[in-house]
Subunit: 236 residues, 2 copies
DNA sequence: ATTATTCTGAAACGATCGTTTCAAATTTTG
DNA sequence: CAAAATTTGAAACGATCGTTTCAGAATAAT
């Protein structure tokens, strides 16, 4: 299929796989008609998809969260999503595509929640401190370790698409932290000579280590102490 | 099998799975004879194990390192180790046991190398700084991300044995860092009011975040800046 | 009501999973 | 050298892997 050169019409090839060749090789159809055909094709849905994709994605996400990508079987996933493999493959695609949807959903939800949380504070430094404390809470009181971190070490090293999604969320969070740090400096709640970019990065990456510490040692006090130190450090 | 109560002899049960019961249910054998039997059993090796277990463990470790526990198949592992599954199961055991041997070997080698590295410095603070810089190097120039971190997020959350091994290495490293920090304080290269325990933990956990940062952003400068900041921070 | 179309559920696909079996090869003991 | 013991290699084990097929149910247009 390609443009005919004549404005407003599109040239379609005609294939003769069964009947003898009685028609020309090509047919020209006006763009308006093609557009209407495409629209009617979209409207003609004999049966609506029954399951809620967003809900299903969330259910799948929790399975990946607990078991990791390689640890989760399609059986685990379709059981949790309460759909048939055929429905899954007809709508979302294969295991990898499902995972990409899950990690995408997860990171977007997190980035959105973070933005909302941060906008609830007038003081930039108080917003930062609250974010750090919230991060500690989620490390200590959430049953699963962060899906983004798990995914970084399981898949992002070898899967460039996954890495790009994680990088995108990281960039957003970094940008938010950076703007907060800059505002805090302006509001004289951080030293004027602070390297804003580096500190934003530094805060962002501290969380990962605390996560690991808590998994290995199961010691809340250790994590809380480190968070307190980081807060003191950036507030001085 | 249990002690007879009579000192120096052990009571063995006798099982009659084929022949009619013509003997007593138990037989008492002196400890000396049992000990000799065990020794001769050990010496009687009709054929020696051909492959070098340590080498094979190292090969397997690299596979787990690249693919993770769930991502590595027994086929991958035996191919890399260049041994037959039967040899593997006869000597080391199943997949999980093999992995435990690998992660154990890995953490012990790391802990040992760290001790050696640290002992090469007279100044405690210089040793710490060198360790931090070495860590940055391994993050930037090693093709695989740290096996201990990968394992923490893939298995340690659910597998208590794996967690214990990781905790053991972490404890050793923590103890080393702690002694270095304390010495640095004594040598007046760190502030006298430094919380040595917390700072040791803090340094230890910073590495993990840098690892994640480099996987996601592939930006060496960012990692180097954070390391420089941490060094400046503990040196002041 | 009929036709056209699409989603669903059950079953099955070949491939691979981790693991086991067993005869042959190999080595030491007596 | 023969007997005893154990590792090795090839093959196969049942189970599960991710994925596909397809008849039938469901729905919309004609």
């Amino acid at each position: 299929m390609q443009s005919s050169g004549v404005t407003g019409s599109i040239m379609f090839p005609i294939r003769y796989n069964l009947y003898p060749k009685l028609l020309p090789d090509f047919i020209f159809i006006s763009e308006t008609i093609v557009s209407e055909m495409a629209l009617s094709l979209l409207l003609l849905m004999a049966r609506l998809v029954e399951f809620n994709q967003q809900d299903a994605i969330r259910k799948a996400m929790e399975v990946f969260w607990k078991k990791g990508y390689n640890g989760a079987s399609m059986r685990d996933l379709t059981d949790a999503m309460q759909i048939n493999p055929s429905s899954l493959y007809n709508t979302i695609g294969d295991k990898r595509q499902l995972f990409i949807r899950c990690i995408d959903d997860y990171t977007q939800a997190r980035a959105g929640a973070l933005q909302t949380h941060a906008s609830g504070f007038k003081s930039a430094s108080k917003a930062l401190i609250s974010i750090i404390n919230e991060s500690v809470n989620s490390i200590l009181y959430s049953s699963n370790s962060c899906l983004a971190i798990k995914t970084t070490f399981e898949l992002a090293v070898t899967d460039k698409d996954v890495q790009a999604i994680l990088k995108h969320e990281s960039d957003l969070t970094y940008a938010l932290f950076l703007s907060l740090v800059r505002r805090a400096i302006e509001e004289k709640e951080m030293p004027a000579d602070t390297d804003a970019e580096m500190i934003a990065d530094y805060i962002l990456n501290a969380f990962t280590g605390w996560h690991q510490s808590y998994i290995v040692h199961q010691d809340a006090a250790r994590v809380k102490k480190m968070a307190k130190f980081l807060i003191a450090q950036i507030s001085s």
